[in-house]
C-alpha cells in the first residue's frame, strides 16, 4: 500500500462523479489549448504572408486603418483609393521600386475570388514569380488572365479555358507556380484592364515598394511622404500592427477560456468538499491508525492533483483535435483566410503541451488546497463521532 494507490482507490469509488469532474477540467483545458494552438498557427501564417508580400514598404491612403492593412496580408479586396499618378510620384524617388495593386472581387462557380490588377512585367520581377504553365502577359493591356496555382487547382482550370469576369470573357494564358502565400488565391489581369471592367477610372488600391538599401528605410519613407500625400508603412510595422490586433482578439478568447477553467476549478473544489463530507469517518479512521495531518492533506491534495494532471493531458488532446477540426470550419471572419493555409500541427509544440499541463495542475492543486486543509483540520474524534 502506498499513498498513490490509496488516492486512486478513493478517486474511482464514485466513477460518475470522477468522470464529470474530470470532464470539467478537460473541457476548460481543451478550450485553452485550442485557442493557443489556433492563435499560434494564425500568427505563423501572418508572418508567412508578410514575408510573401515581398515588399519593404506599403503605400496606402492616409485614412486607412489597421483593419484595412490586415486585408493586404490576408488577400481580401480593397477599395480603389489612390490616384495612379501617386504611383509615378513614389516610383520617382531614388532607390525605390514601386508596383501598383488594384484588388477587386469576382466569382468563379459562385465562389468569391480575388481579382488583382497589376503591371505584368514589373510584378513578375518584383514577386519573382515562376510560370508553371502557359506564357505570361506579353502586353501591358492584354485582355487575358493568369491564375494563382490554388485557383487553378480548386476550380480545375487549365491554360486555354475561358473565365468570365464582369460579363467579359478572358482566356487563361498562364498558371503561376505555387508560392505558398496569398498570391496563389488570386486571378491576375493587367491593371488597365481591371480599371476598365470595374469602371474605377485611373485608381489603384495600394502600392507595394522595394528599396535598394534597407538601412535607409526612414529616409525613403520621408522622401515618399515629401512627394505624395499618402501613408507609408514598413512591412515590419504592418506585421506588428496585425499581430497586436490578433493579440487583442486572443486575449479576449483566452479570457473566456480562463473563465471556463475557473468554473472547472470550482467543480474540483465542490467534488473534494463532497468527498470530505462523505469520507469524514474514514478520515477519522485514517487518523486513528496513525495518519498525520500532513498525510491527510497530501491524500486530498493528490486527489485533486490527479484531476489536474489527467484533465490537462486529456485537455491537450481534445483541444488539439478541436483546433484541427475547427481551423477549416471557421469561415467568414476576417481571420479565416489566415486559417485556411494554417497547419495547427505546426503550432502544437512542446511548450503549449507543457504549459497547459502545468497550468492545469496548478489550478487543480490550488482548488484542492482548501478542501484538503479542511480535511486535515478534523481531529480524529470529530471525524469518527460524526453522524
Amino acid at each position: 500500500m502506498n499513498t498513490l494507490k490509496l488516492v486512486s482507490k478513493n478517486l474511482l469509488r464514485r466513477k460518475g462523479r470522477f468522470i464529470f469532474t474530470l470532464l470539467g477540467i478537460t473541457i476548460g483545458m481543451a478550450a485553452f489549448v485550442a485557442l493557443l494552438s489556433l492563435s499560434g498557427s494564425m500568427q505563423s501564417e501572418i508572418r508567412k504572408q508578410a514575408a510573401m508580400l515581398g515588399a519593404n514598404l506599403i503605400i496606402t491612403p492616409k485614412n486607412w486603418c489597421a483593419y484595412d492593412q490586415i486585408s493586404i496580408l490576408t488577400g481580401e479586396s480593397l477599395p480603389e483609393s489612390l490616384q495612379y499618378e501617386v504611383l509615378e510620384k513614389v516610383a520617382s524617388v531614388d532607390g525605390v521600386t514601386a508596383i501598383p495593386y488594384l484588388t477587386q472581387k469576382t466569382a468563379i462557380q459562385n465562389s468569391p475570388v480575388l481579382v488583382t490588377g497589376m503591371h505584368p512585367q514589373e510584378t513578375l520581377e518584383f514577386k519573382e514569380w515562376e510560370i508553371a504553365e502557359g506564357s505570361f502577359f506579353s502586353a501591358q493591356d492584354e485582355r487575358a488572365v493568369v491564375l494563382g496555382s490554388s485557383i487553378a487547382n480548386s476550380f480545375n482550370l487549365q491554360v486555354g479555358d475561358t473565365l468570365t469576369i464582369r460579363g467579359a470573357q478572358f482566356p487563361v494564358i498562364a498558371i503561376l507556380q505555387a508560392t505558398g502565400g496569398n498570391d496563389d488565391i488570386a486571378v491576375y489581369l493587367p491593371l488597365a484592364v481591371v480599371q476598365e471592367i470595374y469602371e474605377v477610372g485611373n485608381y489603384i488600391s495600394f502600392i507595394a515598394a522595394k528599396v535598394d538599401d534597407l538601412a535607409q528605410m526612414e529616409s525613403y519613407e520621408a522622401a515618399i511622404l515629401d512627394v505624395a500625400n499618402v501613408a507609408v508603412t514598413s512591412d515590419k510595422q504592418l506585421l506588428s500592427t496585425v499581430l497586436s490586433m490578433l493579440g487583442t482578439v486572443n486575449m479576449t478568447l483566452q479570457l473566456i477560456a480562463g473563465v471556463a477553467l475557473i468554473a472547472a476549478a470550482f467543480g474540483i473544489i465542490n467534488t473534494m468538499m463532497a468527498a470530505i463530507y462523505e469520507r469524514r469517518r474514514e478520515i477519522g479512521i485514517l487518523r486513528a491508525i496513525g495518519a498525520k495531518r500532513g498525510s491527510i492533506f497530501r491524500i486530498f491534495l493528490l486527489e485533486s492533483g490527479v484531476y489536474g494532471l489527467l484533465g490537462g493531458l486529456l485537455g491537450v488532446v481534445l483541444g488539439f483535435v478541436t483546433s484541427l477540426i475547427a481551423a477549416p470550419l471557421i469561415s467568414g471572419g476576417d481571420m479565416s483566410v489566415l486559417l485556411k493555409g494554417a497547419t495547427p500541427q505546426a503550432s502544437l509544440d512542446a511548450t503549449i503541451v507543457l504549459t497547459a499541463i502545468a497550468f492545469s495542475l496548478v489550478i487543480s492543486v490550488a482548488a484542492g488546497m482548501y478542501p484538503a486543509w479542511k480535511a486535515a483540520k478534523l481531529t480524529p474524534v470529530e471525524a469518527i463521532s460524526y453522524e
Partner: protein, 224 residues
C-alpha cells in the same frame, strides 16, 4: 505488578463550548500494567468511550493527563501523537472500522502505510495477520462482503498491523451475535497471550471475568 504502561491523572473532559456542556469525565485516575487485559465497564453514556479516546490520543482532555510509557501525551505535537497512534497503539472502534473502498487485506496494509513496515513486507505481514484472525480466505473481500464479526476481526488484525504494544477496543463485540462474539473473543485472548496490553470497553460478562483489571465507570468517575 508490571510497570504502568497507561496512566491517567485526574483526567477530565468537558464536551461543548458554551450553553450545552457535558461533563463526561470528572477526574479519572487509573493505572494499567503492561501486558494486562483490562476491561472498562459501565452504563451507557457514562464516559467509557470518552476515556478510551483519551487514552488512545484521539482527543485531548480538558484537564489532567494521560501518560503512555511515562510520556504525557498532551505534551506531544499532533505529528508526534500521530506517530504514537501509528506505532504504539492499535484502536478498534465499536462500529464502522474499515475503509469501505479497500479490501480486507488493503485495510491492513493502509495502517502499515503510516507505520514502519517496509512496503515489500506489507503484503506478507498483512496476510499473516489475516491468518491470525482466521480470515485468510477473505483477503480480497470488501467490507460490505463481510459479516459484522468478520469485519471486527479484520479491524483487530489492522489494529495489530504495526505491532503495537497497546490494543484499545471499544465494544468490539457490542453489535455481534453470540457466535461472532465467540470468534472475536477467542482472537482477543490469543493476542493477549502473545503479550499485548489490551484495554476493552465491554458489557460482556465472560470477558470481564477473565480480565485482570476491571474499571467501572459511573457518571464520569471510576467506581471503587
Amino acid at each position: 505488578m508490571n510497570r504502568a504502561i497507561i496512566k491517567t491523572e485526574n483526567l477530565e473532559k468537558i464536551y461543548g463550548k458554551s450553553a450545552v456542556k457535558t461533563h463526561a469525565l470528572k477526574g479519572v485516575d487509573m493505572e494499567i500494567p503492561a501486558g494486562s487485559l483490562s476491561c472498562i465497564i459501565g452504563t451507557s453514556g457514562h464516559g467509557k468511550s470518552t476515556l478510551l479516546h483519551m487514552i488512545g490520543g484521539l482527543d485531548k482532555p480538558t484537564s489532567g493527563s494521560v501518560l503512555i510509557d511515562g510520556v504525557a501525551i498532551s505534551e506531544l505535537t499532533d505529528s508526534q501523537l500521530s506517530e504514537l497512534r501509528a506505532q504504539k497503539i492499535g484502536f478498534v472502534f465499536q462500529f464502522f472500522n474499515l475503509l469501505q473502498n479497500l479490501t480486507a487485506l488493503e485495510n491492513i496494509q493502509a495502517a502499515m502505510l503510516f507505520g514502519s513496515v517496509p512496503q515489500a513486507q506489507q503484503r506478507a505481514k498483512a496476510l499473516e495477520l489475516l491468518e491470525l484472525v482466521g480470515l485468510s480466505d477473505k483477503a480480497d473481500a470488501k467490507p460490505t462482503e463481510l459479516s459484522g464479526g468478520q469485519q471486527q476481526r479484520v479491524s483487530i488484525a489492522r489494529a495489530l498491523a504495526n505491532d503495537p504494544e497497546i490494543l484499545l477496543m471499544d465494544e468490539p463485540t457490542g453489535n455481534l451475535d453470540s457466535e461472532s462474539e465467540e470468534e472475536v473473543l477467542s482472537q482477543i485472548f490469543k493476542i493477549h497471550k502473545a503479550g499485548k496490553t489490551i484495554v476493552i470497553v465491554t458489557h460482556n460478562r465472560e470477558l470481564a471475568e477473565k480480565a485482570e483489571m476491571i474499571f467501572e465507570i459511573q457518571d464520569g468517575k471510576i467506581k471503587t
